[in-house]
Symmetry: C2
Subunit: 260 residues, 2 copies
């Protein structure tokens, strides 16, 4: 691993639940020597990629990131484009939709939309991390991943978020086969007891699955007819979103007939 990669890998330890990391903590997390970590952090610091808190001298993500992020958005307005598509399917289905993309072996919510049809809704936040085994987005991405990646993700300890979270990797793998065949994954109460979600895959320019569009609804509202509406909306949105980010949907998709 090159020095640059090592430095950038340090950024992956920051998350919504861990916004500040001390030097020693970072050493433990990364397994890299303290002097090295310190030097890498110093370089990132110089460029505003991270910054240091005044009190405890802990590190956190820096001011350059929102600026670079908005420059990226200006160059490739995925968020903007996807917001439109997402709003459409949220309006159509009456439920919360979201787009999530892979980054560094983790899925992140990139964009989302709400519907105002119902008084209750599944809430969402930009940048949130998504687990692979307990959400429809995660599952559909896994179903299109390499065996290596799949094994890696399923061999980690799988957290039981609810009483209904499936954590048996054999059983999960079995489900993935049909998810892949249908270009659609489902998760009922896997992450939160009251949430039922459906997801379709998103592909990049080399036909690799790099994310998912999903719709999440309260369990009680996901009946047979809304599942039908949701599924067809998601399939269309997935193709549209894949195209809009310069990706290519697999050839065979067009020839499939999903009248299950």
């Amino acid at each position: 691993m090159g020095t640059v990669s090592k430095a950038l890998s340090l950024l992956t330890y920051f998350s919504r639940s861990r916004t500040e990391i001390g030097l020693t903590e970072m050493v433990k997390l990364s397994g890299i020597n303290k002097a090295t970590v310190h030097r890498l952090l110093s370089e990132l610091l110089q460029h505003g990629i991270i910054e240091q808190t005044a009190e405890k001298r802990h590190y956190r993500l820096g001011p350059a990131l929102p600026i670079l992020g908005s420059l990226r958005e200006a160059a490739v307005p995925i968020r903007e484009i996807s917001k439109k598509v997402l709003q459409l399917i949220s309006d159509l289905t009456g439920e919360t939709s979201h787009l999530s993309l892979l980054r560094n072996e983790l899925l992140h919510v990139v964009s989302f939309a709400y519907s105002s049809r119902h008084g209750t809704r599944v809430t969402m936040e930009d940048g949130t991390q998504i687990t692979f085994h307990s959400t429809s987005s995660g599952l559909v991405v896994l179903s299109f991943s390499s065996q290596d990646f799949l094994k890696k993700m399923l061999s980690k300890p799988l957290q039981k978020h609810t009483s209904l979270t499936e954590i048996n990797s054999k059983k999960i793998e079995k489900k993935l086969l049909s998810f892949r065949k249908n270009y659609l994954a489902e998760s009922i109460s896997g992450f939160e007891l009251d949430v039922h979600s459906l997801a379709c895959p998103i592909f990049d320019s080399s036909r690799r699955c790099i994310g998912a569009v999903a719709i999440a609804a309260p369990v009680s509202r996901m009946d047979t007819s809304s599942i039908k509406v949701t599924t067809s909306a998601l399939r269309k949105a997935a193709v549209e979103l894949t195209n809009s980010i310069g990706g290519v949907f697999p050839e065979d998709f067009k020839n499939l007939n999903f009248n299950e």
Copy 2:
């Protein structure tokens, strides 16, 4: 310069007007050897900091940046916080306000707010780069910068954006003295003929000036009385914003009396 810094420095060549950069072009821009640039870009590529276009294999800012940017925002919600403060002073003054921060020796708009009082307004965009010599924000930052930085910025060729842009560095330096004394810079028609702007400095935790809050209005609306209102609103906002980003306003500011 360390390898990490070298890699990160490549990111500075991307801007709103140059969203894609080829390998050879990047070599020219950075003055670094081609093999090195290629390796650095490859490492950034791996982490999604940049990505490559399918057609021309050019490089552009990557999908990790908006994700990291929103994580940063979640950890230190400058944009969110500043939007409130900015909206307040925009409502009060009836004009467009914005917050800009230094990154890599460049000023960028981080957040802004409009007022709906008038039919015309100065328009703004997140991430826009701001020049030092022709805007009030740039000038106020210069007035609080080190001599080194000042010389460096003023020795570059200064673009004459309008017929009234001051490009005589001696004259600019003279003005900076009073700007610093007053914690307030002014620019009339320096960047656009019809824009009059005022700016106050923002400081970080080590009392270094890292940006500015500014109000920009059509020249015709900036009369003596609105300048008074604007100035006092900006001074308050600057202290508030400085505090909200964990910065410290210089001690002497409190003791000053600005009844000019």
